[in-house]
Amino acid sequence: MTGDGSTAVIGKDGLDALIRALAARGRTVIGPTVRDGAIVLAEIAEGAELPYGWGVELEAGHYRLRPREDGAAFAHSAGPQSWKTYLHPQREREWSVDRGADGGLTVTEDDAPPPSYAFLGVRPCDLRAIAVQDRVLAGGPHTDGRYRARRERAFLVAVECTEPGATCFCTSMGSGPGVDGGYDLAMTEVIDGGGHRFWLRAGSDEGASVLAELPRRPADHATECAARESVAGAADRMGRSMPPVDLQLLMRDTLHAERWNDVASRCLTCGNCTMVCPTCFCTTAEDVTDLSGDHAERWRRWESCFDLEFSHLPGGPVRASGHSRYRQWATHKLGTWYDQFGSSGCVGCGRCLVWCPVGIDITEEAHALNAERQAAGGPEGAAP
């Protein structure tokens, strides 16, 4: 465990106090809440807005809210959005330019003060996803200043997973279900004979200072044990898994596999997987001019490698077929991401398979590619 080690147990009143304490520090508190038949991320003002008593039923291409009798607030897995909605917003102005009466141009960079967020309920897979985007957007030679500013001001309350979904595979990607740092506060929900409570640990000075403001009691052995058991149990209940092989190598070895044709026949190229992926970061530039012709703006908006426009060069799109676009996405996510950023781009949250309308499952595709490689006599396979 990181931080100063301060720890405590809070009840539902403590959770409510946490939201209010973060808001009182001038932060916009974002957390899970029920809306439009899903557990979405939205600004919340009090504990009552959390999805107490709601769980989710997940499958590839399928998401349904399900009531839970235990009244848990965090017994649900990844929803339709991720935190990139806030840290890496879908559309953002970068600069504007005005032409004066003398014909001179004045460029104004957009430097509005960044929002100061508090994220309540960041799952371990999403904590990893934020770290992956940190590397991409703020960890290289070309830093995205606006992302960095939002990120530096963000207060993260991680919540360990005790109820993985049928589409979860964080254990395969080494990103969950427990947390081991990278948060301001970490929380584990415990519901048993001892009551409905949350075991809290501070991971930063500010986390400790917020913790000290809450109505709380000292962490007890029974609560800690119950929390650790729940998280350990969750690791054994992942609904999906990746093949236990070097995925980077698997992608490299199977570029010409027959399986890519199979998945291409199912892929709608609709772009949903990239939009819901918590690490997909691609954007395109959007130039806006007004009717006068004297004012123009440069915006940036989310783009997807499934969009034909994404690889459009003079002469047409480089990746015109669905085959080439799906392969590009999967091999980047699981393979070439290592070459580019030193880690996998996949954190095992399962969003891409849940929100794919036709339920294309990246774990199933990886297993199929692995089987095809083995059948061809590749790693650990017997030559036919």
Partner: protein, 262 residues
């Protein structure tokens, strides 16, 4: 204004077989309408003024499909008099709902609808403008989106390409944070095969997209149609949902052809 004062570009709006809804979108621009009128000379727009001016025109916006021999001739004259020609809406771009006639007996329709069918002279088909003359840009929708219309006019004035993405409506749902009605509610939705531009209007109000912007630039109907069936859409309804405003769009036509037994 630029330092060199130039003649204002001349704008014309033309109507073919259509309901007028897309032209009305121009009048509906309200806040921007005065700005547009200040930058272009609206030379020909019968819905706004009964005093049309002669060509040539710098930009012609064409609404409606071609359903008569006279209109087939008229669009050639308009094209010849227009520097750029942009079609606006599903009728002009795909033939409109009136293209349902393409699969039926027009004489029978005439006999049913009109007291004196012998007064009616019409073609057997409803065809998009692009089937008759070269088109510089096609704006989708039934009706078109106001923001996209302004974008096309503004882009024309700045001599740049309009920013009108041709990807699926799913992009717009995800960008605005709309929960997927198919995945979360089991609602049939044409979003994954439909051209963006509406801002995901219907899914945002918890109903499925019904494809009024026509096909996106990257559709996969053989994979998509079983999804409609899974959510309870029978064959006849698959055909019906594709045979609306964009029935004659080639991708929709092909998908329907595969659904219907010979």
């Amino acid at each position: 204004m630029t330092a060199v004062q130039e003649r204002s570009p001349r704008l014309a709006v033309w109507k073919f077989a259509s309901c007028d809804g897309c032209q009305l979108t121009l009048l509906d621009c309200e806040d921007e309408l005065l700005g547009i009128a200040g930058r272009v000379e609206i030379t020909h727009f019968l819905e706004a003024s009964s005093a049309p001016g002669p060509g040539p025109y710098d930009l012609s916006l064409v609404e409606g499909s071609v359903t008569t021999a006279q209109d087939a001739e008229r669009i050639r004259r308009i094209r010849a008099a227009s520097r750029r020609l942009v079609t606006i809406g599903a009728c002009a771009t795909a033939g409109g709902v009136q293209a349902l006639r393409n699969y039926a007996d027009v004489a029978e329709f005439q006999a049913t609808v009109y007291a004196r069918p012998d007064y009616i002279e019409t073609l057997a088909t409803s065809t998009p403008i692009s089937a008759h003359v070269p088109v510089d840009f096609e704006l989708r929708g039934c009706p078109i989106d106001r923001g996209q219309l302004i974008e096309v006019i503004t882009a024309y004035l700045a001599d740049r390409t309009p920013d009108v993405p041709a990807h699926s409506v799913c992009f717009e749902c995800k960008r605005r944070g709309t929960v997927c009605v198919t995945v979360a509610h089991g609602t049939p939705c044409l979003g994954p095969v439909t051209h963006a531009g509406c801002g995901a209007l219907c899914p945002t109000y918890n109903r499925g997209c019904y494809g009024c912007f026509g096909p996106s630039n990257s559709t996969n109907f053989p994979s998509f149609i079983p999804l409609l069936r899974r959510d309870g859409v029978e064959t006849l309804d698959v055909v019906r949902v594709l045979r609306t405003f964009n029935t004659a769009a080639p991708e929709f036509e092909e998908a329907v052809r595969k659904e219907l037994p010979e």
